[in-house]
Every structure is written in structure tokens, then in C-alpha cells.
Amino acid sequence: MSAPRPPAAPPRTHLSLTINSEPVEILVETYKTLLEVLREDLGLTGTKHGCELGECGACAVLVDGRPILSCLLLAAECEGTEVRTVEGLADGACLHPVQVTFADLGAAQCGYCTPGMLMTACALLERNPNPSRAEIREALSGVLCRCTGYLQIFEAVEEAGRKLAAGTPQKMGETR
């Protein structure tokens, strides 16, 4: 049997975008999804995957402020966009209010869907700081969680909304 030719090196494309408020210039393989580039090329492993088929929502990140399934978006399509991942949620060591409430109220159990949940919740709260329970259910319906039964997540999002509305200040260097 004649040996098949080795596959050609996959083509790459130059990409410039903003990730977590930092400008990023990178050569990416054109077949790669945003999820793969974030996790494998940029070391941002906070974004998770549960199916890589757009079914579970674990990989949700914000692209120009909107929650997007990063497993369904080619990185090459992200030229010039602003991407926000779970790594960009805290302000230094200071947690974002939605992180604080998720931590305090039991909204993260295994923590695997949590980044996708947090980013989706964050997008909701940014456009509607005082969502109803029904609006929260609707907004988070694309992210599956097998641990919590969702109820503590709903409560955490509601509480985060209240914190955001009250503008609760956090102490400099507070890590919890």
C-alpha cells in the first residue's frame, strides 16, 4: 500500500481583537473556533466545553457584549471584536458582584458550567440590572447545569443585580 501524503499544514490567518480589555495580535489556524483559540492558543482555560456542538452553553463568552457560544464561532470571524471571558470578570483580585453571589449562594457546585453561566448572567445584568425570575430563566436557558437544579443560580443572579444597583463598593485588594 502506498503511504498517503501527510496532510498539509493548516492555513493560518492573522487576527487582531481585544480580549478582556487587552489588545491581542495572533496567527490562528483558520479551522479553529474561538473556544479553541482561547483555550489552546491563549491559555484562557477558564472557558469550558461540554459538547463543542452548541448544545450545552458551557463555552459562552461575551463578544461585543453579547453572549456567544465560542464553540460555534470561528476565531477568524472575531477580527476587531471585543471578547470577554471569565478571566476578565474580576477587577484584579476583586470579584465581580455576580462572582461574589455565585460563590456565596451555592450557585457553583462542580464549577464547570459556571463560566458560561456567569458570562451569560453578566450580559443579562448589564442590559437589565433588575431582571424578573422569568427573564433570568429565559436568559440562562441555553446553559445546562447538571448539579444545582438552577434555583441557587437564579437567586445569585437576582442578588448580584441588587448589588450592582446599589453599587456596593469593594475594598481595595479584597480577595473574597
Binding site: M1, P6, C51, A103, G111, R146
Partner: protein
């Protein structure tokens, strides 16, 4: 108590909300290679030849492994060592792995995968238990009887005589469909050879200790030269508690290549790993008196095991073992049969083998209540098992908070004024349950501790807790920190944790059977109390305060009579270190000896049992059969809630998973048409098609934590991770009866089945019509405690004594045939004794 019982952020929460928790697939090492498995497209076939030449020619491919490279079988139970890292000469289900490719990156490995040519000879497939019973050939496994894996039969007292004396006998047949865990994290593992030549495996496993044993056995290297690190699991639910082929394959590849090798399964492959809920057909016969009291119960179960043993022998016993621990059952007969079929193996899913018979029992109780015109809640209250007693099958019960649980959900749901009185289409249903707080016996028989904790303290005030326990999201790390902090009077966040690592921590058997809180908890308390004792001796001497008066609290050690007199915790550790030298303590736990001495009595005993009661409210649309669960009231007897935030999360998560099982989740298979090979394939190997509840389906849940502390638990705590799942499915079915007068004796309760029952003008029922005839063996006859029994069977030969051996020999001599060392396995034909496998031709 300062820490125990206080609602609190879990110690690992910050890592989780910042995305910093390092799951297995997040690990990256220099020079790391990637592995992919070639899986069988046939449900049952002989492998004639594997041609890997074209794959090896792909640039970037480093290695191709086939079954012959790892020929030693393994399996979670010593009695069913029937798996191979890669199939030897036979594939047994669609998805069974045949070859592994290791390459520089994933895309190259995938490219090469397509170029492996396998010549298969398809064999007849066995699709379900009926076919398995009727078709002894071709055998799927070389052990068992034809395609029957295991038959068990136990009888506690003369059941037929008791039935003859009953006022009423109820007989029903039920079917519980299989379903899967669907943890969001796909299984992943990384193996690397350490600089000193030892092997390390990081894996999303619930049972690093058992993976450790399987690696030592298959790779034939000393266990002490292997380190298994369980990375935090992105959900487990039982689906990551077997040693898996992909873990062994990457370990072998790393050994051969001397480079780190990673594998991450895709979602379709996770469906093939399965080990989920067994589909079970059940026939339950119960004799009662006019007042509803049970005189005898007779249960038969038929399990669809899939292609391998997995936990199946234990699962089979579990379909019968816990029928006696909730209500008084004076006489009981249980017969169970597990069959092999050409489908992914079934195993333990949350509730392991007990949700199926629980479904049957609680629906039948509802039918009994209806027939005798009794209130279902009152009927249950009048029948509750007695605390601190032995059951007919010698399960030793501790506290039972079930009566209060029933009261709470009855009151909360307005049961007395609403049951039977809601408008057509709306109804409420009630069910109860109980569950283990840890299996009383380990998976391989030994006399060692089930859990160990080591503490190390130093002059900075640092406390580090080491334990093999595995964090799967349930909060085991938090329990460990919680209990040590409580005893030492410090904050849980002060404690550094090293868990799930077989090199660094004492053995804990793993996160299964709801055992961690109780068993690790006792070990943690013992280690912490020993540390406290050492420190207290030193502080007492230094401050000249009697030791008995010293209090550990608020990060201080002080005089109870004069709290100003004291030292900081760090200073206390310093004086302790000065007096005793370097401070370190250990604690360990082994469950009490079981009262069940008969063969098969190893499954079911537990140090304590948790109890739950549940009321579900449904709204049924008779036109479409659609069932909306609108509200759930759940009360769970947890003994004591160590951290109520986590306890509530476990309860609500159980309700969620249970509603998925009750209404939609289903592992279903179909035969392809003849022109497409008649192969048996998954209906739903994706998350989109395998329906599970989203945020939109989750109803309101009212959770009551009932605290009836059990002496057998750490600070009285019992389990909470699995028990609350059990009553939900039957409560939904019972609510359907209240709503529209139908019985759906089958899970999942889909709209189609509701419509079928509504259309059944006679029985108003949907469910299996009959239970197949099975040639049962003569049951082991064990007289119940109240009939003079001592826990042994009357008609059983002498059993091997437990004294003597410390550990089953397959631990110390990897590579040798395993001992059939579980109580069930002693007379079993082991998979090992099958003829030596013939390897297919492999071209490289």
C-alpha cells in the same frame, strides 16, 4: 458549634467563579501529545485484522496502540474483570474502542484515525434482556450463563405462607428506562512519566484509588510507582467511577513514548462510556392486611446490563437491598437477574440500582392506599421502619427522620386539603425513600480503613489536611475543611487542602455511594481531635490551666472560665511543636461489621440511612399528554447539615436530575434497517437529542432539611447527595393519578405514554403487561431477626472466613488473575478463566 451548621461559602468557590479550577482538560504540559480512540461502528463483531500502516504514515503520528498492547483485563469489581483498554478480538457495542492513535495534536490524531482499516466480522447482536434470556449464543461475555450475567435469589422468611394469609395481594409490573449522567465535563485524562521514571495520571475520575489499582494491574508496574490525581470533576453522578479504557490507553502511551499524553473525549464518546442507570423491568407483589400493613413483599427485577460487568453485580443486589429500610416488611423475597446486551455498559448513577425498585414500591403503595381508601401519607406514617432496628434482610437502621419529613411536606403542600380535591388535570402525589450513607463494604474485600485523613501543622499556624477524597462538585473539600476547622476552632479558609492524590494523601475509596461526608468526616474529626489533644497538652502546661478547661475557638485556645487567658492558634501550635516535635496526626474510618452474614448481604449495609419525603404538584394537559411539574416540596433527613448552602444545593440538584429522569431522559437504542446492517445504535448520542431539563423546566422547590442526628455520622450528619432524588419519580407518577386518574408504571413519563393511559378505557394505565418467566435458582433462605435468624442463610455452604487476608491479592501482585474476593464472587466463575484470547492480525 462555630462552623458546623452555618451557611457559608464553600472553600473552593473562589476558584470556581474565577475559572481557575483546573479540570483535567485544562492541564497542558510541554511536549504534550494527544490521543484519540478508534471506536467500533458495530454493536457486536469479531476483529479479524487491523491495518494501521496508513495511519502511521501520517506526519505527526507517534504511536498506534491496539488491544494486544494491553492484554490484561480489568474491571471495577473483582468478579467481573472483563474489560480491556482496547478490545482484543471482539467488539461488544457501538463505541467499544479498538485502537488508539497518539499524535502531535488532536487534528492529526483524528486525521490518522480515519486511515486505520479494521476488518470486522459482524456477529448477531442482543438488543434487550428478553433477547438475552432467549439467546444464549453468541455469548457477549465468556462468563455468566449464556447471556445472563448474574442471577440472585434471597428469601427472608416464608413469603408464600405470609402472602396466603394476607387480606389483599397487590401485583404490579413496572419498567424503568435507563438514562445517563450527562455531566457537563467530558471525561479527560493526561498521563506523564515523571523525571524519576514513575507514572502520573491526572483524570476526571471519582475513584482515583480504583483507577490506581487498575493501572498497576494492566501496566504491570508496582502501584507505588504510579500516582493518580483526580482533578476536580466537572460533575460525576456515578459516571466517572469506573476505571476507563482511555485512562489506561494514555498511561500506556506515555510509558511508551516518554512524553505527556492527553485525551479528552467528545460528547458522543461520553455517551458510549455511559455506566448509567440500568433499564429494569420489575414485578412487585405485596401482601397487606386491611389496615394497609405489609405482611410480605416479593420482588423480581430484570436488568439490562449492557456489554460489560461494570458495577453490575452490585447494581443487581441494589435493586433489592433497600426495599426493607423504609417501611416495616416482615417477610421479603428478592430475585434479580442481570443480562448482557450489545449496548454501552450500565453501572451506577445517583441512587445506584435503588431508584427503579423505589419507583415500583412507592407507586404500588399509592395503589394500595387507593384500593383500601387510605390516605397515602397516613398509610406511610403507619408503616415506618423502626429506628435502631434490624430489617428482615439484616440492614441495621439508625435514626429515621422520615415521620417528620412526611409531616413537613404534607403541611407545606397543603396535602390534607388538596389531595384528591384539585380540579381535573391538576394533582399532587407523595412518595418517600431512603438511601445509604456509604457502602458498608469496599469494592474489593479488605480490612483496611475506607477513608484516611492526615493533618500537618506548623508554627505559622498553618493546618494542611491530606485526604484521598475526590471533589466532584458535591463539596467534599468543604466538608473536610469544615470539620477540621470546627474541632480546631479555626476558620475553614485557614486550612490548606490536598485531596484526590494517591501519592500525597491517605486512601479514600472515592466519591460514590454517598460515603464521603460520613467516612472522610469521621477520619477528619479523629485526626483533628488528636491534633487538638497534642496542642491542648502543651497549652495547658504553659498557661497552667487544666486541659479540660481549654476551649478551641475563634482562632484562639483559651480558658473557658476566663476567656481573656489564652493564646492565638498559631502560638498554640508553636507550644505544641515545642513540646512534641513536628506536629502531624492521622485519622481513619472503617464501617461497623454488617449483621448480614449471607452471601449477597455485602450490598446494602451502611453505617446510617438517610430518608426523604416528597410531594409533587403537576398540571396535565389531557389533550396533549403534556405534564408540567409546577412545584415540589421535599424534606430530607440529613442527620445534621454541615453547610446548609451545600446541603440545599444537593437536594435541589437531586430534584432536578430526578425530574429529568421522570419526564424526559432516556438512553434509547434502535436497530438500523437490514440494508444498513441491522446494527443497534444509540438514538440519542448528543445533548440536543438526549433531553434534559433547562432553566425553563425547573419548578419551584421548597426544601426542608430535617435534622435528626445519627450517632453513626460525623456530628450526626448523614448523606444528602443521592437520597433526595429517589422519591421524585414515583411522586410525579402518583400526582398524575391524582390529576387525571391514570397510572403510568413506566419511566420516563412522556406525553405519548400519558395519552396512551388516558386512552386505555379499562385499566387507565400505561406500562409493561407482564414480567418474563425466569428460571430462578433456589433462594438463599435467611430467617428474619424476629424469626430466630442470625443473619446467615440456612441453605448455604460454609463461607470463607474473613480473618486472615488483609487485602485481596490482586493489589500486591498486579498482573495475576484477580481473586473473586467480594462476598458475591466467591463461587463465581471469573472472567479470567476464559480461554486465552486470540489476537487479530495487526499491520503496522
Amino acid at each position: 458549634m462555630k462552623v458546623v451548621g452555618k451557611p457559608r461559602r464553600r472553600v473552593d468557590a473562589r476558584a470556581k467563579v474565577t475559572g481557575q479550577t483546573r479540570f483535567a482538560d485544562d492541564l497542558v504540559f510541554p511536549r504534550m501529545l494527544h490521543c484519540k480512540l478508534l471506536r467500533s461502528p458495530h454493536p457486536h463483531a469479531r476483529i479479524r485484522r487491523i491495518d494501521a500502516r496508513a495511519a502511521l504514515a501520517v506526519s505527526g503520528v507517534k504511536l498506534v496502540l491496539t488491544g494486544a498492547d494491553m492484554p490484561i483485563p480489568y474491571g471495577i469489581l473483582p468478579v467481573s474483570q472483563d474489560e480491556h483498554a482496547l478490545c482484543l478480538s471482539r467488539v461488544r457495542f457501538v463505541g467499544d474502542p479498538v485502537a488508539a492513535i497518539v499524535a502531535v495534536d488532536e487534528i492529526t490524531a483524528l486525521e490518522a484515525l480515519d486511515r486505520i482499516q479494521v476488518d470486522y466480522e459482524p456477529l448477531r447482536t442482543i438488543a434487550d434482556p428478553l433477547e438475552a434470556l432467549a439467546t444464549p449464543d453468541p455469548r457477549i461475555q465468556p462468563y455468566g450463563d449464556g447471556n445472563v450475567h448474574k442471577k440472585v435469589a434471597l428469601e427472608f422468611g416464608d413469603v408464600d405462607a405470609a402472602m396466603a394469609g394476607a387480606d389483599h395481594v397487590f401485583e404490579d409490573v413496572f419498567f424503568y428506562q435507563g438514562n445517563t449522567h450527562l455531566a457537563i465535563e467530558q471525561h479527560a485524562a493526561v498521563a506523564a512519566v515523571d523525571p524519576d521514571g514513575k507514572l502520573t495520571l491526572w483524570s476526571s475520575t471519582q475513584t482515583p484509588h480504583y483507577v490506581h489499582r487498575a493501572l498497576a494491574r494492566v501496566l504491570e508496574i508496582p502501584a507505588a510507582h504510579i500516582r493518580v490525581i483526580a482533578t476536580p470533576n466537572g460533575g460525576g453522578f456515578g459516571g466517572k467511577s469506573d476505571p476507563f479504557n482511555h485512562e489506561i490507553a494514555v498511561a500506556k502511551a506515555a510509558q511508551v513514548l516518554g512524553r505527556p499524553v492527553k485525551i479528552c473525549l467528545n460528547r458522543e464518546e461520553v455517551f458510549y462510556c455511559h455506566r448509567g442507570r440500568h433499564p429494569v423491568t420489575m414485578k412487585l407483589k405485596t401482601g397487606v392486611k386491611n389496615d394497609g400493613s405489609i405482611v410480605a413483599m416479593d420482588l423480581q427485577t430484570l436488568l439490562d446490563g449492557g456489554a460489560y460487568g461494570s458495577y453490575g453485580v452490585a447494581s443487581t443486589f441494589y435493586t433489592g437491598a433497600l426495599q426493607t429500610v423504609t417501611y416495616q416488611v416482615p417477610r421479603y423475597r428478592f430475585r434479580g437477574c442481570r443480562t448482557f446486551t450489545n449496548k454501552p455498559p450500565c453501572g451506577p448513577k445517583r441512587g445506584h440500582g435503588t431508584p427503579q425498585p423505589r419507583f415500583a414500591q412507592e407507586i404500588q403503595l399509592d395503589k394500595i392506599a387507593a384500593a383500601l381508601q387510605l390516605d397515602p401519607a397516613d398509610l406511610r406514617q403507619s408503616q415506618l421502619a423502626k429506628p435502631h432496628s434490624l430489617t428482615a434482610n439484616y440492614m441495621r437502621l439508625g435514626t429515621i427522620g422520615l415521620s417528620e419529613c412526611i409531616d413537613r411536606v404534607v403541611e407545606g403542600s397543603g396535602w390534607k386539603t388538596r389531595y384528591g380535591k384539585l380540579p381535573w388535570g391538576r394533582g399532587i402525589g407523595l412518595a418517600c425513600s431512603s438511601y445509604l450513607c456509604g457502602a458498608g463494604l469496599p469494592i474489593y474485600w479488605n480490612t483496611l480503613p475506607h477513608s484516611g485523613v492526615q493533618l500537618q501543622l506548623d508554627r505559622s499556624g498553618r493546618v494542611t489536611a491530606f485526604c484521598g477524597a475526590t471533589e466532584i462538585g458535591q463539596g467534599s473539600d468543604d466538608v473536610l475543611a469544615n470539620l477540621v476547622a470546627e474541632v480546631l476552632g479555626i476558620d475553614p479558609f485557614d486550612i490548606r487542602l490536598v485531596t484526590g492524590d494517591t501519592d500525597l494523601g491517605p486512601v479514600d475509596l472515592g466519591s460514590y455511594s454517598s460515603r464521603v461526608t460520613l467516612m472522610m468526616g469521621h477520619a477528619a474529626i479523629q485526626a483533628a481531635e488528636r491534633a487538638r489533644e497534642l496542642i491542648a497538652q502543651a497549652v495547658s502546661a504553659k498557661l497552667e490551666i487544666p486541659q479540660a478547661r481549654l476551649v478551641f475557638g475563634e482562632r484562639r485556645v483559651f480558658d473557658a472560665q476566663d476567656p481573656a487567658q489564652g493564646v492565638s492558634f498559631a502560638e498554640a501550635v508553636q507550644v505544641g511543636e515545642a513540646m512534641h516535635g513536628t506536629l502531624g496526626t492521622t485519622g481513619s474510618y472503617r464501617p461497623p461489621e454488617s449483621a448480614a452474614k449471607y452471601k449477597g448481604g455485602g450490598v446494602g449495609p451502611s453505617p446510617a440511612y438517610s430518608y426523604s419525603a416528597c410531594v409533587v404538584e403537576v398540571n396535565v394537559q389531557p389533550e396533549t399528554g403534556w405534564v408540567d411539574v409546577e412545584k415540589v416540596w421535599i424534606a430530607h433527613d440529613i442527620g445534621r447539615a454541615l453547610n446548609p448552602v451545600l446541603a440545599r444545593g444537593q437536594v435541589e440538584g437531586s430534584i432536578y436530575m430526578a425530574l429529568g429522569e421522570a419526564l424526559m431522559e432516556e438512553m434509547d437504542y434502535r436497530r438500523l434497517p437490514k440494508h444498513l446492517s441491522s446494527a443497534l445504535v444509540h438514538k440519542f448520542p448528543s445533548m440536543l437529542e438526549y433531553k434534559s431539563p433547562t432553566t425553563l423546566e425547573m419548578p419551584e422547590v421548597i426544601t426542608y432539611l430535617v435534622e435528626d442526628p445519627d450517632d453513626a455520622g460525623p456530628f450526626g450528619a448523614k448523606e444528602v447527595g443521592q437520597g433526595p432524588l429517589l422519591p421524585v419519580m414515583p411522586a410525579v407518577a402518583n400526582a398524575l393519578y391524582d390529576a387525571v386518574g391514570i397510572r403510568v408504571d413506566e419511566i420516563p413519563i412522556t406525553p405519548e405514554k400519558v395519552l396512551r393511559a388516558l386512552g386505555d378505557r379499562e385499566a387507565h394505565r400505561c406500562g409493561p403487561k407482564n414480567f418474563p418467566r425466569i428460571d430462578w435458582p433456589e433462594p438463599l433462605r435467611v430467617p428474619p431477626p424476629w424469626e430466630g435468624g442470625d443473619g446467615q442463610a440456612e441453605n448455604e455452604g460454609p463461607r470463607r472466613r474473613r480473618e486472615g487476608a488483609i487485602v485481596a491479592s490482586d493489589v500486591v501482585q498486579p498482573g495475576l488473575a484477580p481473586h473473586p474476593s467480594t462476598p458475591e464472587g466467591r463461587h463465581e466463575k471469573s472472567a479470567e478463566r476464559s480461554p486465552a484470547p486470540e489476537f487479530p492480525e495487526v499491520l503496522r
